[in-house]
């Protein structure tokens, strides 16, 4: 299958899946089977694109012309392909997990859930393979809209309120700021195609560039840069698989992915480096890293803590992009992958704990680790990866970012990254440790006694939940060893720099 066909297919496969899911809506087993089939085929399709990209090709396909002069087109380049690969791989895992979670938790409206989940994946693929800013914007908006029903899944007042915040901030920033930036870019540059080295160089004054960049960076609300981060904690009312795949991987990564795309292909690293327009945004990102980490420490609700952790981690990537160096961008891009595996593991664990014990607050989890050893072990591994300790994948991306910060001479950023890692330890590790501490007296007293009336009902979550989270935890470790490969794969996106230097 040629990659040109594979790209639209990647968008289409989940949509076909939606139809299948809807057709099988009255038979849950068949319906879930459809989801699985779709997920596997999607991953296969995405995999088929990799060889061409590794070979240095940039397969492009124009689907249609949207406005005169503006095409709706898809293309594959390393950044997007990586993103698509991660998202589609983790969808398989998440689908397995969802089956366990949704049934174990007796959720309503499961057909709607699976259907919109598949739509969300389709739009994520679209974001990943967009060839120009208009296409990307379109899929970006579609992603927001189709994840809304997932956030408000519960249908409670709280869920509706959260849904309003979610939609309000995401659409507010994208329509209010990003769209303006896109149109302005179109006017200034006369094109919106993602081009190596950017399209804005030499076409506008430094001031305009700075304003545009700010519009983009704040307009990409999905990157959750403060002060537009409120939607992410709000979205935590969604069922955990949603939080896991969408709000740790697909949606938020679509945000930072867009930031990277804009940085690399719209502005160009050189342009940002010479105008210095991005420096203050880098400081904003640094501030977000620290503040979000501090807020995370105060949260007792596990999912809320993870959400703030995500906000903080996302800003790593934004920071990487805003430092306007090759290392920063590549580090950011790698962090997309690393953080995805780490954070999804953590969310899976949170969901497993919820299904098994109906507990959401960290303070109640004392002693649970002994009853759910796999879950908590996986949590521990995931946490290590987020913190950035070897032998976890997260260590490499953080290393790259620190390197980039040191390169640019912004020692402040080095310090911020270091402090943040410490804070990560402070808010993640205690969760795992608490789980292995003896349960409090009123919860049973006898650690070995599975037959006590109080804690007796709690045991490991269903296998459908546990297997996926073990898998992703192992993934964190695997990534540590394959980071070189990822680095080599992503390196060409900064070709703009080398290209500029060598004159090519």
């Amino acid at each position: 299958m040629s990659p040109e066909i594979a790209m639209p297919l990647a968008v289409a496969v989940p949509l076909v899946g939606v139809a299948l899911i809807l057709l099988a809506r009255n038979r849950p087993n068949l319906r879930e089977a459809m989801t699985m089939v779709t997920a596997f085929s999607l991953f296969a399709v995405v995999l088929s694109i990799f060889p061409a990209v590794i070979a240095g090709e940039r397969p492009t396909i124009v689907l249609f012309e949207m406005f005169p002069g503006l095409r709706f087109a898809l293309s594959a380049e390393p950044l997007g392909t990586t993103f698509a690969g991660i998202a589609s791989l983790l969808w398989i895992v998440t689908s397995i997990y969802s089956i366990g979670y949704m049934r174990g938790h007796h959720e309503q409206n499961q057909t709607r859930f699976y259907a919109f989940f598949a739509v969300a994946l389709a739009t994520t693929m679209g974001v990943a393979f967009s060839d120009n800013m208009l296409t990307l914007f379109t899929f970006y908006e579609a992603l927001t809209l189709c994840t809304f029903p997932l956030v408000t899944h519960a249908g409670t007042d709280e869920a509706r309120r959260a849904g309003r915040v979610y939609l309000g901030i995401l659409l507010g920033t994208s329509i209010g700021l990003q769209l303006l930036a896109v149109v302005a870019t179109w006017l200034i540059a006369g094109t919106l195609d993602f081009t190596d080295g950017g399209i804005l160089a030499g076409k506008a004054s430094d001031g305009v560039i700075a304003v545009l960049l700010a519009l983009y960076i704040f307009g990409i609300g999905k990157a959750a840069l403060m002060p537009f981060h409120r939607w992410l904690p709000a979205a935590m009312v969604a069922p955990t698989p949603v939080s896991a795949l969408l709000h740790a991987v697909a949606v938020v990564k679509a945000g930072v992915f867009t930031v990277l795309k804009v940085t690399v292909y719209i502005f160009g690293i050189d342009l940002l480096a010479t105008t210095g327009a991005s420096t203050w945004l880098a400081y904003m990102a640094a501030a977000t890293i620290l503040i979000a980490s501090l807020v995370a420490m105060t949260k007792d609700n596990l999912k809320a803590r993870l959400a703030y952790s995500t906000i903080s981690q996302l800003s790593y990537i934004v920071l990487g992009a805003m430092m306007a160096t090759g290392a920063g961008v590549v580090g950011g891009a790698m962090h997309i992958a690393m953080h995805a595996f780490g954070k999804i593991t953590l969310f899976f664990c949170a969901g497993a704990i919820l299904v098994a014990s109906h507990k959401t607050e960290i303070s109640q989890m004392q002693g649970l680790g002994r009853r759910m050893p796999f879950t908590f072990a996986a949590f521990f591994l995931g946490a290590l990866s987020i913190i950035g300790l070897p032998p976890m994948g997260g260590s490499w991306s953080k290393f790259e970012l620190v390197l980039a910060a040191a390169d640019t001479g912004h020692l402040v950023f080095v310090a911020v990254l270091m402090i943040s890692s410490l804070l990560n330890i402070a808010y993640l590790i205690p969760v795992a440790i608490r789980g292995f501490l003896p349960a409090p007296a009123e919860a049973g007293g006898n650690p070995g006694g599975n037959h006590e009336p109080d804690g007796g009902g709690i045991s490991e979550a269903p296998a459908f939940c546990v297997v996926p989270l073990c898998f992703t935890a192992l993934g964190c470790i695997v990534l540590f060893f394959y980071a070189d490969w990822l680095y080599a794969f992503l390196r060409p996106i900064t070709g703009a720099i080398t290209g500029a230097i060598t004159g090519g």
Binding site: T138, A142, I175, L180
Partner: protein
């Protein structure tokens, strides 16, 4: 032979069908006649559009008297485009109306309803196609009088006062219009629009001409319900029978916008007159006020029809803003928004009509749980709503894109921000409804509510598909709108 006379047939066919309806005196037969006639009109409009694209503007001399002595029919790109919009909506509303009107209008009035409907349609077509300033007034009155009657057919007694208020304000607007026409006639001696356009620039600094423009603008602003002259619109839309609301919301104000464009650009020469009189700035300000103010009011409405009526006001603001930008992108954006808004608003009001047909109420609380009970209708509503917000891949996005582009080309960043902010306000009021429909359980005892009849769903479906199709592939509509804008402004960018 018939191809040569299409401009005349465009208006005359529906006009002749109206008395025929009276003679027939039977609801269903009148409906069938209306159906045939509106679809014919649509075909005629399409043929005209193709002719215009092919061979440039068409001029047709009524009675064989050459303009400016006789009345001229003139079809340029813009007029042909508007004709297609009006007739397509007109053609789609008729199938929709059958069930809806039988529910909302007494059975022995139905044939009169279609008489009025056809008259209103021919009035609007006449306004669009005519090349004579006074003839425009005559057809304006045909469409206005028939729409007063159509509105008063609503079941709520407030429909009567709404129609009365519209009658008073509409007549004032029309009178202002003829005062303006009188003034320009006085200084030029002609009523033909093309002739006026060639004579007026020479006397652009005359005080009479300035005041004429002012009176024309105010008069038309009344008809198109530009803030603060909008008072008649919300109640009129809210209490008219749904089919009427669909039709008027999608066409009547659009035609008024068209007249505004005609007057400002064709008759007074567009950008040139703005240097004499700050009409553009005035319109821009009022347009933005409408966009924001009406959206804010819409957020607090509990009657869904009224909410959509206020939303129409704000959308009219977009169009006026587009024409006030006075550059090709902005004007093209405004023109294409006429088309786009016609489709989305028709879809939205049709969806509301379906709901009213089954539920018997348009209060927001009555929509609870409808997402499940009337999935297709609500899906249509969501698509229309997304277009209103301006989500990508819907038509709303296209027009917004060009309006923003037009504003940015002029360097008016704040205007662009206002456009965006208005879209966000639309998000709030649309989402209020979506939330109720999908995430609030339906009240007990509402189990018998079913999906609306197919005859209502199909037109709705067609409009929704159009909303998306022209959102995905906007090249055709944008090419037309741009061509029209270039014709109006001249080639300078």
């Amino acid at each position: 032979m018939i191809l040569l006379h299409l401009p005349a047939l465009q208006v005359v066919v529906p006009l002749m069908a109206a008395p025929a309806c009276v003679l027939l005196r039977h609801g269903r037969i009148a409906w069938a006649l209306a159906l045939v006639v509106t679809w014919t009109a649509f075909a005629v409009a399409l043929a005209l559009l193709l002719q215009v694209i092919d061979s440039g503007p068409i001029s047709y001399a009524m009675g064989g008297w050459a303009p400016p002595w006789g009345i001229e029919y003139r079809v340029d790109t813009l007029a042909a485009f508007i004709l297609v919009i009006v007739t397509s909506i007109g053609a789609l509303v008729v199938p929709f109306a059958r069930a809806s009107v039988e529910r909302e209008v007494a059975s022995d009035r139905i044939y009169l309803f279609y008489t009025m409907y056809l008259l209103c349609l021919s009035g609007l077509l006449g306004i669009t196609i005519t090349g004579d300033a006074f003839n425009l007034f005559v057809f304006l009155e045909i469409s206005s009088l028939s729409s007063y009657v159509l509105i008063s057919l609503g079941r709520d007694r407030r429909a009567l006062t709404a129609a009365f208020r519209y009658l008073i304000l509409g007549t004032i607007g029309a009178t202002f219009y003829i005062i303006g026409v009188g003034m320009i006639y006085m200084v030029t001696g002609t009523l033909n629009i093309a002739d006026l356009a060639s004579k007026l620039p020479a006397m652009a600094d005359s005080r009479t001409v300035h005041m004429a423009l002012a009176f024309l603008t105010v008069g038309i602003s009344l008809k198109l319900a530009l803030f603060p002259l909008h008072l008649w619109l919300p109640n009129a839309y809210a209490f008219a029978p749904t089919a009427v609301t669909v039709f008027l919301a999608a066409t009547a104000t659009k035609v008024a916008v068209y007249v505004m464009i005609r007057i400002v650009y064709t008759v007074f020469g567009g950008p040139a007159i703005f240097e004499q009189m700050p009409i553009d700035e005035m319109l821009m300000g009022l347009g933005m006020l409408s966009m924001i103010g009406a959206s804010l009011v819409a957020i607090f409405q509990d009657n869904v029809k009224r909410l959509l009526a206020y939303s129409s006001l704000s959308q009219i603001g977009y169009m006026v803003l587009g024409l006030s930008l006075a550059n090709v992108s902005g004007l093209a954006g405004g023109i294409v928004h006429i088309f786009n808004h016609a489709m989305m608003k028709a879809a939205l009001f049709m969806a509301v009509g379906c709901i009213f047909y089954r539920v018997g109420s348009v209060h927001i609380d009555a929509l609870a749980g409808l997402g499940r009970r009337m999935p297709l209708t609500m899906a249509g509503f969501v698509i229309g709503g997304l277009s209103l917000i301006g989500a990508p891949l819907t038509v709303g996005f296209v027009s917004k894109w060009y309006l923003i582009q037009g504003a940015l080309e002029r360097g008016l960043w704040p205007v662009a921000l206002v456009i965006l902010a208005s879209g966000l306000l639309a998000l709030i009021y649309v989402w209020r409804i979506v939330e109720v429909a999908y995430f609030r359980p339906s009240p007990d005892g509402a189990t018998e509510i079913r999906e609306a009849p197919l005859s209502m769903l199909i037109p709705l479906g067609v409009l929704c598909v159009a909303c998306i199709y022209f959102g995905i592939d906007a090249t055709a509509t944008m090419d037309l709108a741009t061509a029209a804008a270039v014709e109006l402004i001249g080639s300078h960018p």
